[in-house]
Each structure stands twice: as structure tokens, then as C-alpha cells.
Symmetry: C2
Subunit: 147 residues, 2 copies
Amino acid sequence: MSYTISEAAEKVGIPPTTIRYYDKEGLLPDIKRRNGIRVFEDIDLRLMGLLTCLKDTGMPIKRIREYVELTKKGDASLQERYEIIKAQRQFVMDQIEQLQFYLEELDFKDWYYNKALAAGTASVISFDDYERETGKKAPDDPKNRNG
Amino acid sequence: MSYTISEAAEKVGIPPTTIRYYDKEGLLPDIKRRNGIRVFEDIDLRLMGLLTCLKDTGMPIKRIREYVELTKKGDASLQERYEIIKAQRQFVMDQIEQLQFYLEELDFKDWYYNKALAAGTASVISFDDYERETGKKAPDDPKNRNG
DNA sequence: CCTTGACTTAGAGTTAACTCTAAGTGATAC
DNA sequence: GTATCACTTAGAGTTAACTCTAAGTCAAGG
């Protein structure tokens, strides 16, 4: 199946302008052309799916290009590409862990504002209640301002 | 306990230059001064901990300032602040879910490169093996290039 | 044949979040 | 008393990742 740039954009959820930018940056090698116009195949959309994964998990475009360059070398670059994927996989696991930590901070704030809204004021909230009610340590001390 | 900007920087893991930038942007209201020099208290460090949480979970500095401005209004802004925290909490949960999805894509790639390295080539890998071995659908079709 | 609409380019402009520069102040060490 | 050192400021510069602009090409419809 073949697609124009706007069809491809629709499919992968990236604006056509951004796809052109990625192409210019060397992230989409060997895109076919007909009369100068890009023709995208399913294989290209799959690669763009991987690029989206790498980009959205925080890999800079420069590094994604390195990865794409390596794929062009074929089997000779398997080890190097594996290292990149392995590092990114670890990076994503670390990010999830970090976000779960931050989520606990926000869980506390959520609890805090619920209490405060019920009481009509933030001035009566006790740090210890959170631990008593949830079994978790409050990441912040609600006795003070800046809640 | 009181701290200089570089001590505070050390404590919260943000460079002094960036703390000054946040101050200039209105993220740190009411920091005390002695002879023109900022004096940080524990309460300030706790607020900076929350700012780090909001910033690292993707809230723009502009929006963080809005939140900080609201805290200065006291109990009158509890509901508004709660809405911000609730939205950010949901946003973090969505991010975690998204990252877990991407992690599966990278898990597949990890499996793929392990197979390829064992075989010495990527050309023999079967899409179906991944489903057979892991019970999961391969997010990409390894029969093609750009692996 | 001419208009329309989607495509093309090079290159300039934008935005967020820093990061640096230059010039200066004030407390402490020698 | 002067050198040093951490602090201060306004404002300029940087970086990444787009995003827009202007000028142009090409195929299809009326």
C-alpha cells in the first residue's frame, strides 16, 4: 500500500511539515519519489512508528539519526543497534519508576486538597493523618504554607 | 535551617543559575534576602521539590507560575489548585501508560536483536516466533528491513 | 488552457527552558 | 586595606524541535 505525505501523516499522527523535517534530518532514508513527490510504503510507516517510540521516550533526533544510519549498514551494525535499544529500554524503565515516584507526591497533594476543601481551609490539615489513612509517608509537610 | 543558593542547589539538585531563573520567572515567591542575597528556608526547599515534580512531569513553567500565584491567595484558591493537581495526576498516569506501551515495543526490539545476534543475521527472524515465545503480538514486522 | 489543490524547497522564525556574560557588591582571610 | 570568593543583576546567547514563508511544480477538473 502507498500513501502521500498527508495520508502518512494521518496514519502515524505526525503533521506533514514534521515528516518533511524528519526527512531533511535524515530520519527517513530511502523514501521513494514520483515526480519529486514522496511516496510512503507500509515499511516506511512502521519505521516512523519506531521513530515515534524513540522520540516520545526522550531520544534526541540526532541520536535517532545515528540509529537509522546504523540500520543502513545491515547485519554489521546489529550489536551497536542492540546497545542503543537496550539503553533506551532501560531509560524507559527508569522514567516509569521516576513517574511512579512523582505520582505518589501528587497522590498526597490530591488527598491534601480533598481534606482542605472538605474543611474549607488548608490550615487544619495534619501530616500524620495521611500516614494514618494511607499507610504512606507524606512527601511534603502540610502544616506549612505553599500547599 | 537556612541555606545559601548553592547549598539549596545542592539539596534540590537544581543549579544555582536555574534557581535564579525560576525566581525571575516568579516560581519562588517571597524568598528572604539578607544584604540582597537570597536566604532559603526548608519551606522553600519543599516548594522547590513540588516544582521539580510538576516540571519533570511535563508542566510548563508558565503553568507552574499560575499554580504558585494561586497558593498566594490562600484558601480562596483551593478548588482551582486542586483542579491543577488532579489534572497533572491524570496526566502522569497517562504518561506511565504510554511509556508502558512503548516499553513493549522496545521489549520486542530487544528480543529481535538477541535473535539476530545469535543467528549472526537479521534476515532469518520470524514475526511469529515472538508471539510463540512470549504470547505477545510483535509491534513491528521483523520480516522487513529497518529492524 | 487555466485554475485549483496538494505537493516541493531553502531558509527564516518561533518557543521553551535554560545558560552565559559582563559588571558589580559585600563579607571574610591575610 | 586589598584580594578573594560567592553572591547579585540585566540582558544576550544557545539548543532542540519544530513551524512558517515564499516561491515554485505538477496532475486533474471544468
